[in-house]
Symmetry: C2
DNA sequence: ATGCTATTTCGATATTCATGGAAATAAACT
DNA sequence: AGTTTATTTCCATGAATATCGAAATAGCAT
């Protein structure tokens, strides 16, 4: 992880539409969701959706796998881990300031 | 925290120059750094720097405090906490996937 | 009030981004 | 080969961003 990659990923998530898409994919878990399902859930034109997905894929935050005619999209957790880790490391380099907000999980 | 705020903060960090500035401020800790010092460290024109800082301030990631003629900038840790917490919560809503990468810090 | 230092705002330009309809491609089925 | 479904690429357009010199402002010192 470096500042170039981190900033590109942050920028990819720094758009409400894309962040919403990513959130949906994260919540969908390992099964993922097809492009068409994402389109229905978010009610955006196919071409617009495709542009946003490309951005998420190009930055490594999302992966796609073809299943016949449909494309399954999945959040790529390792990338998210690395990004959050980068932010946390930067923050905690000098100050112990990160307090996990979801104590329920691990 | 909501998706609007989160995406605006992510976008603010999603620019290599701003992420670099933020990183410098985070590492500077509670003492913060003056705008002039940031300018020297990053070697960018004053007006450009000012625009970037405004963006970080408007999104709540950075605060400024006047000390005579100089303005001291500080990373606002609670905002960073909330943002990282949002990402982690989203991620861990369905899957336990976040592994803290800096085990040294608490 | 004038000058000096620190920083922001103004104004202008080039680049990138977001959006979405229409056409093209991919993959299966007939 | 032709059709249908799923998705992307092409193309165009308006909006937002990034950059930075020059002028303006803020605050202190003289």
């Amino acid at each position: 992880m470096n500042i170039e990659i981190a900033s590109r990923q942050l920028e990819a998530l720094g758009n409400p539409t894309r962040l919403g898409l990513y959130r949906t994919l994260v919540r969908a878990g390992g099964a993922g969701l097809s492009v068409g399902t994402l389109q229905e859930k978010h009610e955006i034109p196919a071409s617009t959706l495709s542009h946003h997905l490309r951005r998420l894929i190009d930055t490594g935050l999302v992966t796609q796998e073809r299943q016949a005619t449909t494309l399954i999209c999945r959040a790529h957790y390792p990338s998210m881990n690395a990004l959050v880790g980068y932010l946390v490391d930067e923050c905690c380099a000098d100050v112990g300031c990160i307090v996990p907000s979801s104590e329920t999980a691990a």
